[in-house]
Amino acid sequence: MGDFSFAYSIWIPLIPFFTFILLGLAGHILKPRLAGIIGTTALGVIFVMSLYTAYQYFFVYGMVDGVYQKIIAYNTTWLQFTDTLHIHMGVILDPISVMMLVVVTTVSFMVHLYSIGYMHGELGFERFFAFLSLFSFAMLGLVVATNIFQMYIFWELVGVSSYLLIGFYYQKPSAVAASKKAFIVTRFADLGFLIGILILSYITGTFDFITITDPNGAAIHQGSGTAFLGLSVMTWAVLLIFIGGAGKSAMFPLHIWLPDAMEGPTPVSALIHAATMVVAGVYLVARLFPVYYFSAPEALHVIAYVGGFTSLFAAVIACTQLDIKRILAFSTLSQIGYMMLALGVSGWGDHEGVGFMAGNFHLFTHAMFKALLFLGSGAIIHAVHSNYMNEMGGLRKYLPITHLTFLIACLTIAGIPPFSGFFSKDEILVAAYHHDKVLFFVEYFVAGLTAFYMFRLYFSVFWGKEPHYHHKPHEAPATMTIPLIFLALASIFTGFIPFTELVTTDGVPFHAHIDWGIALPSIGIGVLGILGAMVMYRRETNLPEKMAANLKYLYRWSYNKFYIDEVYLFITKKIIFRYISRPVAWFDRHMVDGAMNGMAGLTNLISFKIRGFQSGQVQKYAFVFVTGALALALVFIYLWTN
């Protein structure tokens, strides 16, 4: 490692933090445009810093003796719980965290730049940039966390930034409801995360990632005894932690918040709900991967199947939705499912660990092309002032740059070579093939569905019948198209990054070749999906209606998102509100408090009854006195005589 110090990297999260403070406290004094420029510049600076760090880490100092090291660039004690359990705040640099730094700062920088154009003239422009800075700070703090508690802290902070940004249009009731839902669902999942941390830290005696995940260390083998339902303590701990990850990454059945989160401004959807925050769950599993692999393989199976199921489930729903942002949201769910699945089927070391590599690889490429899709959809919405596909059509003439970049993104997600999605998805399929044939074929099918629904979107928006537009749609300004072009280039070329030599389970690079036996059918399926969409949606036909009529029930269930939202509503509104909360409130007022009031009432009553004795009439007193004395005398006589 030499004398080089990575300590400067603490400023990567801190710069956006100070931007947040500045814009939060003084934002309303600044001119909106200036606030936007400050926020964007800050992100530009840390974008460059992250690229520099990545260069220094991967190509200069990171590798020692052929292994990428985990470097603690900075660490300070924040809080001490017990003698051994301390929360540190610090920066860890290892292949996945450095990769994430690049992902987060790239997308965040692009989104900042884009927002200057997109949010122009909006009320609360500076507030928007303040929140974006807050989010960037929190996400970067999460990525560089040296210990699980630091991660949890920033995990909560990204949650709240997401809440604030979804509810950015706070006067719109649907946005308010969506932000609330997002926060509460993820909070519920975080309860699992928290308890998981409590168990994990109790059995290992530390929060520290390096200690916990060291395959040769003592910590990872703790808690291997069977605890409950045949699973070990460690398995329970990491499963609970995975619940947290599943909540943040919107895995089934905790996915319900993500489609609603599209109520937020589109740049937010691109940054938080597509590229960065929602993959935090994947990152969490990747971070603890050695623990899952060596101590809790059952948990890893669960992850693989949750991921696989979510990818299928979301892809089916995406085929019938009409709101373009929601289609992209379900597509995000589906793609994150892929990543989870990749981690779930991964082994350890060299080719065995190809799933781990592929999951991270896909995370990286997905961040680029999904951010591009969202920003593209933002440009479309900006042009036609609607989210609904049936109010769009023929836009390729009006939005040439958006059209081209969107097409690139669609080809990327459909897994067509040489775009980046092809390479990362192919590695996932390879990993699945060697591990679990069922999941492998499911993913083949999902690949076809993905191509279909993306091109359904593409053809409906850019081709198809042109509706009557109130205003002639126009291309977005340069601040919006530059990020589109940048991300399109990233989508094309990031596939050539040799991930096998950078991000591996044990830090040792390996070589891998494309397995054409798996890749060719997957391309074929992708092309099939595209052709299907082309036939149905390129020109106006009655095919879609026919399809819908033939698959009536599937269509209806898919269109209503399999009624999961209704199930949640039933649980919250009916069970929690009506059958728990209201009775508690009633019980408190009428039983508990009633008892107190009853006591007071009783006291009152008794005093009312006996106050007659204090009448002030001497005759009465004399009467009572004499009667009492007589009674006593009788008692005494009775006692003496016996």
Partner: protein
């Protein structure tokens, strides 16, 4: 004059100043200046305390002074502070300081109001700095009684009922307490010699275990009522909702902490064996408190009721953590006291300010306040986020310390209790976001809301200081945590000795 007694003298002089002041304006400024001095004193105390500790002064209580007061019964005025009392004193001065600015516009009987309020604060300060049980009890009563007048005269709604209820229930607690304290007194000198009320000395003797079984519930419940121990918490929603702003702030912010502090300092510190054996009963009650308060808050409509139930939940967590009886959990309990104190004061201050504009506290009758009074609305969101335990604010630090501490106790009973308590973080999020959604977000409810003025300068002072408090602790908690932990040695020694014996 010793340093600590200034904490009683300054408020008393302020009260005197208010009484002799010629008009409301003078009274106002006398109060403001007096409480500013008090706040500065508290800051000085924190720094001096930390400096003394750093210099290696390991005495259990610092700035210790002892004056004989009533020789016949060996009642003394003894003052001394450890890290825990310092934290409490600092909390109290912050809350009363901001409370003054939050009630800048009280119209009716202004001087009497401020004089009573500060008298109440005097009682609280005295309680925290004294180490003599009798004197503590005296100050305790001094803190509880003015509450009756403050709610009964300056309150709103069914104020007579609420004032009576609150006072009677707390007096009931006092009755139990008095028995407990006298019991302790008569067992304070098992080897002969004069009896004493000084808890430092009592802590060095062994109270007979049978006696502890009797006295511990007395003192714990006596103080527990003030700490909103289920099912004796019902004074709190009514009391808070009828009390004027500053009184709610002081009451929820500080007075309820007297309960936790007393449970810790008197009940558990002096009778650790009984605490150890009987804790399970109270642990069940406090676990109920934590979730029950939170569920209770979900369906409320009145802002103050919501906050009162929320306080039941948060203060339940204080007692819950104390009863876990390990160093981390107790540390968390004390931090939760400080954190909840500031947070709830902020809530009540804001509720008062919002009420002053909309003239209602029913959330369904309001809406869209974010648009018209952004400063207060943002402050309310911050208070809400702090309350639901967002990192960066004090609530998170305290709750996590409690949870991690509780988890160190093995055994299914403790684990289940901890998981249930942890679940409160979700329920809290539900009721906080519900209020934020209805009250602040959404379209502006009434057209005349647009004429509202946002926070005035004194409201900004009040809110600003409180937010600085929760954010300061939330961002840099280590000093507070260390200050408290370093003072837990004596009680931990005694508790550990029991676990060793058992």
């Amino acid at each position: 004059m010793d340093f600590l007694s200034y904490f009683i003298i300054v408020p008393l002089l302020t009260v005197l100043g208010i009484i002799v002041s010629r008009n409301d304006k003078q009274a106002k400024w006398t109060a403001a200046i007096g409480m500013s001095i008090q706040l500065v004193l508290a800051a000085v105390l924190v720094f001096r305390y930390l400096a003394e500790r750093k210099a290696g002064n390991m005495a259990e209580f610092l700035f210790y002074h002892d004056y004989l007061w009533f020789p016949a019964l060996n009642i003394r005025y003894t003052v001394g502070v450890d890290g825990i009392s310092v934290a409490m004193v600092a909390l109290t001065s912050l809350v009363i300081f901001t409370g003054i600015f939050a009630s800048w516009e009280v119209k009716f009987q202004f001087r009497e109001f401020f004089a009573t309020l500060i008298l109440l604060a005097t009682g609280v300060f005295g309680f925290f700095i004294c180490t003599d049980l009798f004197t503590m009890f005296l100050f305790y009563e001094l803190a509880v009684l003015p509450m009756y007048l403050l709610i009964g005269i300056w309150g709103s709604g069914p104020k007579e009922y609420s004032a009576m209820k609150l006072t009677l229930m707390l007096m009931g607690g006092s009755a139990l307490l008095l028995v407990g304290l006298i019991g302790l007194y008569f067992h304070s000198a098992p080897d002969g010699g004069p009896y004493t009320f000084n808890f430092i000395e009592i802590s060095k003797v062994q109270i007979p275990i049978q006696m502890q079984y009797f006295l511990f519930p007395m003192t714990f419940v006596g103080f527990g009522i003030l700490g909103a121990l289920f099912p004796l918490h019902t004074w709190s929603p009514d009391g808070h909702s009828s009390a004027p702003t500053a009184v709610s702030m002081l009451h929820a912010g500080v007075l309820m902490k007297l309960g936790g502090y007393g449970c810790f300092r008197v009940a558990m510190f002096l009778m650790p064996e009984a605490a150890h054996d009987l804790s399970w009963i109270f642990l069940i009650l406090t676990t109920i408190s934590v979730v029950y308060g939170a569920f209770g808050a979900i369906m409320q409509k009145d802002l103050k009721y919501i906050n009162a139930y929320s306080s039941v939940s948060h203060c339940g967590l204080v007692l819950f953590a104390l009863l876990m009886m390990n160093e981390t959990a107790i540390n968390g309990a004390i931090m939760q006291m400080v954190s909840h104190g500031i947070m709830t004061a902020l809530f009540f201050a804001l509720i008062g300010m919002i009420y002053g504009r909309t003239h209602t506290r029913i959330i369904d009758e309001m809406g869209g306040l974010m648009r018209v009074i952004p400063f207060l609305a943002v402050a309310y969101v911050i208070a809400g986020l702090a309350s639901l335990g967002l990192p960066g604010f004090s609530g998170f630090v305290a709750e996590m310390t409690v949870f991690v501490g509780s988890w160190q106790n093995t055994g299914t009973f403790y684990r289940v209790a901890t998981v249930i308590a942890c679940a409160s973080i979700v329920i809290t999020a539900v009721y906080i976001l519900r209020v934020v959604g209805i009250l602040l977000q959404g379209p502006v409810r009434e057209p005349w809301y647009h004429q509202f003025t946002d926070a005035t300068w004194y409201e900004r002072i009040s809110v600003g200081f409180l937010i600085a408090g929760i954010a300061g602790i939330g961002i840099a908690p280590l000093w507070l945590s260390n200050m408290i932990t370093n003072s837990l040695g004596p009680i931990m020694d005694r508790l550990n000795m029991i676990s060793f014996i058992h």
